[in-house]
């Protein structure tokens, strides 16, 4: 079984984010970049499938040259090989453009399954998995929290408002992974030393064109200080009024 895993390098969720001088990007000069946490679930899912069904895992990433570090981490976790589609301006690209580039590379390969994160934590667009499925005309199940494979039959569980649904489809397919699917392993030292010897194929990008552009970025508004309405039972009516009329939560 051949599995493709989509991997994006993103700023560490714990990094302190600053907007760059042009007001359109985040300043990446001093922040730590990591594998998108949702992609780690996808890598782990691929590794577990490989452990039971055998096969080969190829990581595919679109990003600047530095994104090889994210691919090396995935290789250290146990993936077999990787492809980096090199694009220094990948952070400007909209989801459609990214998906097109990825699809083009994936199409040239033999695969049974494409796994990805449900979203990248930096752009938060939640689109690339679905757009690739559309490009390649494949079934897609998004945000899975359980995965079972029986022959060619995929069975996955998704969390939906107030419950869960089980969805099935046939391979080849695209699945995007949600938190809770698994507990991604740490790359062990043997894996780290072996990753050095695995190949990362680099592809130059053919011009894709950009359809959607970021105009500006702003910091979220400062959280207002809490308001003390009063003390004891006397304060309850006023609190209820504020919650209903101002906060509109009840």
């Amino acid at each position: 079984m051949n599995i493709i895993v989509l991997v994006k390098q993103v700023p560490d969720t714990e990094a302190k984010i600053r907007i760059s001088d042009d007001g359109k990007h985040i300043d990446e000069s001093s922040i730590k970049l990591v594998v998108n946490p949702y992609d780690e679930y996808a890598i782990e899912a691929a590794l577990q499938l490989k452990e039971t069904h055998g096969g080969e895992i190829t990581l595919v990433s679109l990003g600047p040259a530095g994104a090889v570090t994210a691919l090396r981490t995935g290789l250290a976790m146990g993936a077999d090989k990787a492809v980096l589609i090199k694009a220094d301006d990948s952070r400007f690209m909209d989801s459609q453009t990214v998906a097109n580039h990825l699809s083009k590379v994936i199409k040239e390969r033999e695969f049974d399954l494409i796994l990805g994160g449900k979203k990248a934590v930096d752009t938060d667009a939640q689109q690339v998995g679905s757009l690739i499925a559309m490009d390649l005309n494949l079934p897609i199940i998004t945000a899975i929290v359980e995965l079972d494979l029986n022959g060619n039959q995929v069975s996955a569980v998704r969390e939906v408002e107030g419950g869960a649904e089980t969805v099935t489809c046939q391979l080849p397919a695209v699945l995007t992974c949600e938190k809770g699917l698994n507990e991604p392993r740490y790359p062990n030292l043997r894996g780290i030393m072996m990753a050095k010897k695995k190949t990362i194929e680099e592809k130059e990008i053919s011009d894709g064109g950009i359809a959607v552009e970021i105009v500006s970025m702003e910091y979220p508004p400062q959280k207002a200080e809490g308001q003390i309405v009063g003390e004891g039972p006397d304060a309850v009516p006023e609190l209820v009024r504020l919650l209903r009329e101002e906060a509109k939560v009840i």
Binding site: T69, R72, Y186, L189, R190, G191, A195, K196
Partner: protein
């Protein structure tokens, strides 16, 4: 620092250990300290991650990484918990590396893969009631009897002893009634005649296991003699130089762990209407801590790097150990000061870092002994 000493493998290792320390070690550190509980589970996890044999060559089951990698891993673990870091450091530098460096091929094949995989834990017994800094004053005697040695005596303050599979111990070597010098033996812990005492109750490193050893007519095969006794005790002691670098790394990690807590706290705590870091008296303390930690780190990684280049680092390792352990003491003291009364209670953890720091100025050669080594080395150039 990053680009000076680290390659991609180092960076991946650091990321992995940092993650492991933050999500597995830090959450249980306070509790293990309070209960003086040995981190058995964490040792097993470290074994799975391949951390029990970082600088051990691949052919003996290790990761085949270098001293820089090993020091970096110790720093990351010590930032979360010094007891776990010393458990790993004593196992690696004292329990395993002397066999890797001085062992015969048979000894390496027999013991090193088990140690490097974490199947068994290693320990080193040098200190005796009458022989600490003066390690040559060892009273424990190994008397040759055919193909065996009969060992009598004992050791004190031995890290990991209660959980170890093998102990490397130093003894006087006696053949035909004549003292041949001081040598070392690999002693499996199931050897008859070996007794291991209860854990010591300590000021810090509470989750690390420290015990006394007793040898009563303990018979050890001559094949377990470690290193050539004719080569001399001094040559053997050189196998312990890597250990000094790892104690330096422990100093850096202990200092940095406490400093990061103080830094964070200084932005949260307000007094006289502003966050306390805005007071120069606090800001300067934090600036000194950061500077000293950076300096200690450079000494540690420089010593490690030189060692990886195959150089004799007797002086550099002693300097790194001396300076980093004193920085750890100074930084943890000031970290408590930054937290005020909160620093003195256990809930804020910095008091644990303070208690864990002191032993760094004692174990694997006191600060005085390090200064003796450095003085001797620097005077070589003018005498």
């Amino acid at each position: 620092m990053d680009s000076l000493f680290f390659n991609d493998e180092h960076r991946m290792l650091i990321d992995m250990v940092k993650d492991f320390a933050a999500s597995e070690v830090a959450p249980v550190a306070r509790e293990m300290d309070a209960e003086s509980r040995f981190p058995k589970e964490l040792v097993n996890q470290m074994a799975e991650l391949g951390l029990m044999g970082i600088p051990v060559p691949e052919e003996y089951g290790g990761a085949g990484m270098d001293t820089v990698a090993y020091a970096a891993a110790i720093i990351e673990i010590a930032k979360a918990d010094a007891s776990v870091a010393i458990t790993l450091a004593a196992h690696t530098s004292l329990g395993t590396m002397p066999i890797v460096i001085a062992g015969t091929e048979e000894q390496k094949q027999e013991f090193v893969p088990k140690l490097a995989s974490g199947e068994i834990l290693g320990a080193f017994g040098l200190t005796e009631p009458g022989a600490g800094s003066d390690a040559g004053a060892t009273k424990t005697k190994a008397v040759k009897d055919g193909n065996e040695y009969i060992i009598n005596g004992g050791k004190i303050f031995i890290t990991n002893a209660g959980h170890a599979g093998i102990l490397n111990i130093t003894t006087q070597i006696i053949e035909n009634g004549e003292i041949k010098g001081i040598g070392a033996f690999i002693v499996p812990t199931n050897t008859a005649g070996l007794k291991i005492g209860p854990p010591e109750k300590k000021m810090g490193w509470k989750a690390s296991d420290t015990r006394q050893l007793y040898f009563e007519d303990m018979r050890v095969p001559a094949a377990n003699l470690l290193g050539n006794p004719a080569g001399g005790f001094k040559t053997f002691m050189k196998t312990l130089i890597g250990g000094r670098i790892s104690i330096g790394a422990l100093g850096v990690g202990t200092a940095e762990g406490a400093y990061l807590k103080a830094l964070q706290y200084s932005t949260e705590r307000e007094a006289f209407g502003k966050p306390i870091h805005k007071f120069q008296g606090v800001g300067f303390k934090l600036a000194d801590m950061a500077t000293e930690i950076e300096a200690a780190k450079l000494l540690v990684f420089h010593a490690a790097w030189l060692k990886d280049q195959g150089q004799d680092v007797t002086k550099e390792a002693a300097m790194a150990k001396l300076y980093a352990s004193e920085v750890a003491m100074q930084t943890t003291t000031n970290a408590i000061q930054v937290l005020g009364g909160y620093g003195y209670v256990k809930e804020y953890d910095v008091e644990r870092y303070f208690r864990d720091a002191k032993v760094l100025e004692i174990g694997e050669g006191t600060s005085e002994v390090q200064r003796m080594i450095i003085a001797k080395e620097i005077l070589k150039s003018v005498q």
